[in-house]
Symmetry: C2
Subunit: 341 residues, 2 copies
Amino acid sequence: MAAIGDVARLAGVSKSTASRALSGGGHVAEETRLRVERAAAEIGYVVSPAAASLVTGRTKNIGVVIPFVNGWFFGEVLEGIERALLAAGYDLTLYNVAGGGEDRARVFDYFLARRRVDAVIAVGVDLDAHEVASLERREKPVLCLGGYAEGTPRISIDDVAAGRLAADHLIQLGHTRLAHVGGTGAARSVRSVPGGRRRGFLEALSSAGLAPGGRATVVEAEMTMPGGLAATLQLLGHPGRRPTGIVAASDELAFGALRAAERLGVAVPGELSVIGIDGHEYAEMFGLTTVEQYPAEQGRIAVDTLLRLLAEGPADDPLPDSGAPLPTRLVVRSTTARAPR
Amino acid sequence: MAAIGDVARLAGVSKSTASRALSGGGHVAEETRLRVERAAAEIGYVVSPAAASLVTGRTKNIGVVIPFVNGWFFGEVLEGIERALLAAGYDLTLYNVAGGGEDRARVFDYFLARRRVDAVIAVGVDLDAHEVASLERREKPVLCLGGYAEGTPRISIDDVAAGRLAADHLIQLGHTRLAHVGGTGAARSVRSVPGGRRRGFLEALSSAGLAPGGRATVVEAEMTMPGGLAATLQLLGHPGRRPTGIVAASDELAFGALRAAERLGVAVPGELSVIGIDGHEYAEMFGLTTVEQYPAEQGRIAVDTLLRLLAEGPADDPLPDSGAPLPTRLVVRSTTARAPR
DNA sequence: CTGAAAGCGCTTACAG
DNA sequence: CTGAAAGCGCTTACAG
């Protein structure tokens, strides 16, 4: 396969000049550059990333750690990241850490520990101290998108605010018997996506003087449509103490809740209002009122931030827009209405 | 960062021996190997893939070309591939070619043309002659999963058989007024997933003596739930000529069809039977009868096949199980029943 | 079983 | 603006 020496020979220059013309920043006469470029095109030369990164120390490759790729949010984020990376000439190497146990350890201790990636984006996973330390030792910047890791920059919507916004919407519609269908683990940690949304829900209730005790029910489910279905079936089981409004921690949970209502013959929004969080692509079809977020855009922002960080080195001002949560928007459709009297 | 020279020094051996102990196949005394391994662990040595692949010519990295990662089938396949690759010590570099235009050309002419991947798995994309040629020139094996590319091995279910199986199920239940909700492009090419399934549907009808002309309706839609909803709404629009059975080219289309029936007050399966193809994770929740396939498993098989191919080189018998379509299974649930009289 | 040496394909100071 | 040379971190014949 063609190497840079072949290009140089064909163009009648040295390898140094060929290299500079093709990629290096050094100055090359316009005419020379053209000659080299033509030679490269002629023999179909493409740089060897291995050789280049061996000397530059840069791989132009970003590792993405993600718990699953199935699931609307994760798929969208991944596509957003991929598009942005490709545009910047970077590769994306994917690491699935659904397993947790040994597989996960292997990703951090072996795959990510080598010099194959310049930096890491962790999507929806919480990294423990050991994992962060391992990456830091290798001088690999880490950016969290929707997950937490001590001491690393983080990009995310304000989950507490999103939960509050959803609950407030129902409260303003006059609902007083509210329930929350949250994601698994919501109770365990406020510093998690389901935990934050649940806390927002509870805060809104307190602010409105609706004691969470007797009047609000909080259940947990896997964040999928079947999860929402099962949990809501449970919730609507006792006709006497039925909530009139449900805040679901995700749109998929909300879809499941809608289906549960249908199955039990509970009219939406006549007898029951349902609101989700996400802005899932199917939300419109279901007529679901929801708090939208924009994961593909979030992925793009994560890439921009990380590449800037990589370019500047560990600057004094590592994250210009750090702290500012990502945008979110309440979209009212037909699953929420005034509380029934 | 620790290099192999450091390990060698600490273990009191040469770099050659250290290399052999850590990765090379050469014989190393058991005691020496232990000493080297301990030294490596002590200073946290991890091999530099760039340096290694520069000399071996192998990257231990596989490129996956995929049109989107959102969508149940694609997500499952990707997870299956990733798990299998990780287990084999390989990296997965992801290339999204949803765009088609310039972005797609860039993936094939630049990203995939470099020596960054050893081979390519194309998931659900058809490669044109130029793209295949470009990969071949770089000596990169290509494996197609659910897509087509001239002259490259292909792994897939038999889409025609799947379509036939689905239709036959309804025919055996006595249905004679059948409709097909297919994926976009089904009419254009039989050598495409939607095209194959549609052809299978039509074949089954012919075999049963149900002329596709007057009695069967065939519509196309984007292969999503909203797509299926819209197409089925259309299909059920004329109460007089309503089909009693719908074969959907995918489960998501079928979910949409179910929703359309619900909206129009058409009882399933009393007045209308619906069958899908896929085995989507939500199929059970919807009670959907479907022809299951197993994309995660397909991803694993793709990896196994490709790695074997890579190990053996372009052998005489490149694909032992080539031609044998991947497994499929009819799962009957509650959306199909005897045709109404 | 082990070591010295060459070389994979680049980029980058260093001179000129 | 251009070239000769060193070197990035490994692996692999080749000897011994």
